[in-house]
Symmetry: C2
Subunit: 120 residues, 2 copies
């Protein structure tokens, strides 16, 4: 598909998709047979990749971190063992973030309770 379709199907603007492509997060390829233009074709599988990038960003990972993981995972010639280790490490990081969020929630619940009791 062309960039316009990729943009519509992911909800990410064309500008941002190009920005991601420059960073190496995604990659389209120009059809060698077509000589008249340099329009890039984007693979169907990029939809999932981009959704994953969006989720990871929401989870607080930087694009640099996400990029390293993508490079390792898809282009890194890693052994099965190494891939499992990477997944485990990332899962730990996500668990830590969930723990931090739960602390913030506890703080908010306490504040709410204090107000309800008329303590502040």
């Amino acid at each position: 598909m062309l960039i316009n379709e990729l943009s519509k199907r992911t909800g990410v603007t064309i500008h941002t998709l190009r920005f991601y492509e420059n960073l190496g997060l995604i990659k389209g390829k120009t059809d060698e047979e077509v000589k008249s233009n340099k329009y890039k074709q984007y693979d169907e599988s990029l939809i999932e990749t981009i959704n994953w990038i969006i989720a990871s960003k929401k989870a607080g990972f930087t694009l640099a971190e996400i990029n390293i993981l993508i490079q390792d995972w898809f282009n890194g010639n890693l052994t099965l063992f190494e891939k499992i280790e990477i997944a485990k490490k990332k899962i730990k990081e996500v668990d830590l973030k969930i723990k931090e969020l739960k602390e913030v929630k506890r703080f908010l619940l306490q504040a709410k309770k204090d107000v309800e009791k008329g303590l502040c």
Copy 2:
């Protein structure tokens, strides 16, 4: 306490504390009695405020959002009802973030499982 102590007790650099003070997140006051300098005194209670700012940042809130909440909460002359509503709203936001993180975790667990099964 002076800014140096506040920095040491919160782990936030003096530069960043001043940056926060410029944004209005925290406030020190110069002792009117002392004419020789303009050294600002920071209240003991700011330690908790700053720890809360740090946690909120980790939770993905921007300084602008944190600032609005602080202004509302501490200086906003809100009714008890309004404060409870604000707390409820923030708790909902945190819950959403936790949900998003759990999705990322599910994705990672699936990837790990796929690798373990030798599917990729």
